[in-house]
């Protein structure tokens, strides 16, 4: 029997006890946070370590950017698929998941900004 979680405006409060399974949305949101973070993290690693930059040099005319973005996109999609399989059709704690996703997004912005990335590398 569904739990009536309607608030004053008639909408469904998602957390706790939402009546619409939010697992698929949570999977997409967390994977997006991870994808954005990975783009910046891989770029930062490539910038800090020449051996990593050489590894990411998938397509020479584009340089390490090709491997950084291709790797991040592949992992983003794999994480999304796995989380969707695990969480799809289920109710998950959206609050904590969205906080983690925003933290990853924020870290992604932080690392992508060259002065901050350089500062972490001691430059």
């Amino acid at each position: 029997m569904p739990i009536d979680m309607k608030n004053h405006s008639g909408e469904i409060a998602n957390e706790p006890g939402a009546t619409i399974p939010n697992g698929a949305a949570a999977a997409a949101i967390l994977a997006t946070g991870a994808g954005c973070f990975l783009v910046s993290a891989f770029a930062w690693l490539g910038d800090a370590f020449p051996v990593v930059a050489r590894f990411f040099n998938f397509y020479n005319p584009t340089g390490p950017l090709s491997g950084v973005t291709t790797s991040a996109i592949i992992i983003w999609l794999v994480v999304w698929i796995i989380l969707s399989k695990v969480w799809g059709g289920r109710f998950v704690p959206m609050g904590i998941i969205s906080i983690i996703a925003f933290l990853l997004l924020g870290l992604g912005f932080f690392l992508s900004f060259p002065p901050l990335g350089n500062f972490l590398q001691g430059r």
Partner: protein, 189 residues
Amino acid sequence: MQMSLRELITAVHGMGFGALFLLAFSGALVKLHRLRTPDISSDFTAHERTLFRVYLIVMAVLAWVTVLSGAYVVYPWYRAHPPAGVTDYTDFPQRRLLSSPTTSGWHNLGMEWKEHVAWFAPIAVTMIAYIFIKYGADLSRDRYVRNVVFAFGAAAFIAAGIAGVFGALINKAAPMQGGAIIRMMVETK
């Protein structure tokens, strides 16, 4: 009136795909904001939802085409190294920017930031399109999810804006040149 092939492709990448994407984004944010207002979101008709689904898919495609054309067509021209002995960096924008301390920041800050942060936009817009298509009318009833989707949309808009602004300013500081000349109009005198 003429322009080089590289100038044309760069304009299509930035002023075509990129600018169109940013313009579309403002419309999408208004729609997503409307979804956050329960009384109004319930007024979404089935036709409006279908239209918004198509709108978001087109936006996601535009975002991907923009970053892919940037990374695999324009960026290789930008970062190309001049052959040994060449001191005229007209056709080598990165070298040209780095050759002077008054312009090196456009590369060290502008391009280094733009080339990575731009990818946040297609990733986030793909997620937004997926969630809207997957949840449809139910999204207007799920306050938490739609607020998170709106926040990611705003973040993606900022990321795309950073990339767009720096792209335009870098191309102003060191215009992309080279390639075949395309004549669009021949003046008689």
